[in-house]
Amino acid sequence: MVKLQSDWVKRRATGLFIDPFLVEVKIKVMPKDSLASALLASWHPIVAGEQLTEGRLSRALDYWNALIPLSQRMSELDAARQEQEKTLSVSELIKLKFLSDKVFQQEISNLLSELKEKSEGGPIDYWQFITVDTYEATVMRSYALSFLISNGYANLIVNPIEETIKVEALPVQEQKSSGGRSVPIAVSYSKWKEMRGS
């Protein structure tokens, strides 16, 4: 408060205090030429020059001599550039021999059986279901589960208010032939560690 009062007094004392309403009216009625003339009459431009010193020129020359050709720098930059993230489909993973078609089908089938068993009494927590001993296996389970959900064998229940995600196996009569919905869930290493309680 004291500072505000002090600023107010200083402002009035510097002679810059003029009623804002009066200023607005004046600006509205003044022609553009008069406004520009008022500015010119109050304008004392800064005089400043730029200079190049011998020392600076010498440093610039050293820099130029040490500079690697652009083509070489570009190839280094390309090598350092990280591959962009992309999504791989099951068929691509199988093609890359990351997954075997037969093994994957077996994994899916086992996971569905496990889900049916665990969600017999109602939907269960998504994170508790997918989390296992290793991070790699947890990611594989989440991937297989997403396959079950998107193919309509399981249902995902997201509650944004309580921030919970639950999952349940769907009975055959409720399974959707056209496939379920798609919800992105990041299975990060930190989340896995949190679930494992370490």
Binding site: L16, I18, L35, A36, S37, L40, W43, V47, A48
Partner: protein, 191 residues
């Protein structure tokens, strides 16, 4: 080296410090000048000012809070920035030298008057509304951005406009407000 020669050397050094831009901003801070010229640097500045006077130039000291002082303290001077300015204001015939059109200068004059009348800050919205009464919105937007870039205006994240560092150095706001409010005639202002 005689005393006269030593002083002459310091005056030349002071001229270099003030005239050649060695930072992002032109001019030099008081403490920079003191570091190079010694604790009597203000005496050297006064001598340089006399030499500049013959060339129609003057040294302007802008204090860190933008408020002028009659008897500045040592600390005020060290924190202040020293600029070299043209002593005589620009004439209408020299407008082309600034590289700006008359309506661009009018936008700056109106924006500065509005901000000054509102105790140094006004919302960008109210400045735009006032300026758009006479100029198209694209021109107002373009000019305000240009003045912010050049340092005549300053804008914060909340969209408040302030007086910029360059205005504090170059524009005699008291005179500008006097002319716009009608207490100073334009003819007198032009002379």
């Amino acid at each position: 080296m005689s005393e006269d020669a030593a002083i002459s050397k310091k005056v030349k050094k002071a001229a270099q410090l003030l005239l050649y831009q060695h930072h992002r901003l032109p001019g030099s801070k008081g403490w920079e000048i003191k570091k190079i010229l010694g604790k009597d640097y203000m005496k050297v500045i006064k001598l340089l000012e006399r030499k500049f006077d013959d060339l129609g130039l003057e040294i302007k000291i802008v204090y860190s809070d933008g408020i002028e002082r009659i008897s500045p303290t040592e600390e005020d001077l060290e924190q202040a920035r020293f600029y070299v300015l043209s002593k005589v204001p620009m004439q209408s015939s020299e407008v082309s030298l600034s590289g700006w059109r008359i309506d661009t200068l009018a936008v700056l004059a109106a924006a500065l008057a509005l901000i000054t009348s509102k105790q140094g800050k006004a919302t960008r919205r109210e400045a735009e509304e006032l300026l758009q009464e006479k100029l198209p919105d694209w021109k107002v937007d373009q000019d305000l951005n240009r003045f912010i870039r050049k340092g005549y205006l300053d804008e914060d994240e909340a969209g408040l406009l302030f007086i910029g560092w360059r205005t504090r150095a170059e524009i005699d706001l008291k005179k500008l407000m006097g002319i716009i409010a009608g207490s100073l005639p334009e003819e007198k202002a032009e002379s």
